[in-house]
């Protein structure tokens, strides 16, 4: 199976690889895995607590080229978006952009799940702070 040029491009030059401080109250961390293939993906978002705009995004993925490309792509996409906009991101957009074949669709699902769980983590932290302030 051949990878599309876009997948190869992201795979060879992945954007936003790295880590953010997961203890930072404005950083949401999403950690997801694909049991079918054993891939793991960690995606982190730094979110402005006032505007809820994603200011930074980093990822680390141990997996195939498509999983790396999917996570690289979504970190580019979500930067500058509000978390409400980012939550609307769907894996089909990733599939279309990267031209993923059917056997690699689960990689795009993984990236979508990672974004969502990072946002949920941020929201959880924010809610916990609000509770503590009461």
């Amino acid at each position: 199976m051949a990878y599309s040029t876009k997948v190869i491009e992201h795979y060879e030059n992945p954007r936003n690889v790295g880590t953010l401080d997961k203890e930072d109250e404005n950083v949401g961390t999403g950690l997801v895995g694909a049991p079918a293939c054993g891939d793991v993906m960690r995606l982190q978002l730094k979110i402005n607590p006032e505007t809820e705009v994603v200011e930074d995004a980093k990822f680390k993925t141990f997996g195939c080229g498509s999983a790396i490309a999917s996570s690289s792509l979504v970190t580019e996409w979500v930067k500058g978006k509000t978390i409400t906009e980012a939550m609307k991101l769907s894996n089909t957009q990733i599939v279309e952009e990267l031209n993923l074949p059917p056997v690699k669709i689960h990689c795009s699902v993984l990236a979508e799940d990672a974004i969502k769980s990072a946002i949920e983590d941020f929201k959880r932290k924010k809610a916990a702070r609000a509770d503590a302030a009461k």
Partner: protein, 174 residues
């Protein structure tokens, strides 16, 4: 047909490897085309497709992971859809993979070996848990062990890739 039935073995995870090999060889011999030269074309086709099925069953049963998922499937458990990994496992796996990537990047062979040994111990423990799960017909436990084993296998694949890379570099005289 499930691979166990194809090879005439009982449905169990910790099967007798010698028995598996013997069944496979016997069936392969019996199904060999040379033994069916007098058969009709449709019989020969049936024999051939049976031989393909036997090969596939053997391939599945030889490996812990694929044997376990076949066994779970035979009990109606779809291992992939029913194994939502728990965050703790993912965190552990992520940590191991990061440490391995670091050791690889810094060419720290000792660190790679230490990590590989640690994962080998984890794999052994997971295999024991899987045997226990199947023995007690606790398929939930078996499925959890399967997921764990799947992630650990990917780590082992990576260790093997590092070793291969080293060998290739040595062969090139680097």
């Amino acid at each position: 047909m499930d691979p166990f039935s194809t090879l005439g073995l009982s449905l169990r995870f910790d099967l007798d490897v010698a028995e598996l090999e013997r069944r496979y060889r016997d069936l392969q011999r019996a199904l060999h085309p040379d033994k069916h030269t007098q058969a009709s074309p449709s019989e020969r086709r049936a024999t051939l497709s049976k031989a393909v099925e036997v090969n596939e069953a053997y391939r599945v049963l030889r490996d812990d992971l694929s044997r376990a998922s076949a066994l779970l499937a035979a009990h109606g458990v779809n291992v992939v859809s029913e194994s939502k990994a728990d965050p703790e496992l993912l965190m552990e796996v992520m940590e191991l993979r990061e440490a391995l990537a670091e050791a690889r990047a810094t060419k720290n062979d000792a660190a790679v070996a230490t990590l590989a040994a640690r994962v080998k111990a984890l794999e052994d423990a997971t295999r024991r848990a899987m045997i226990e799960g199947f023995a007690a017909n606790d398929f939930k436990k078996a499925a959890l062990s399967w997921t764990r084993m799947r992630y650990l296998r990917r780590f082992v694949d990576e260790v093997n890739a590092i070793a291969e890379e080293k060998e290739n570099a040595a062969a090139r005289g680097v």
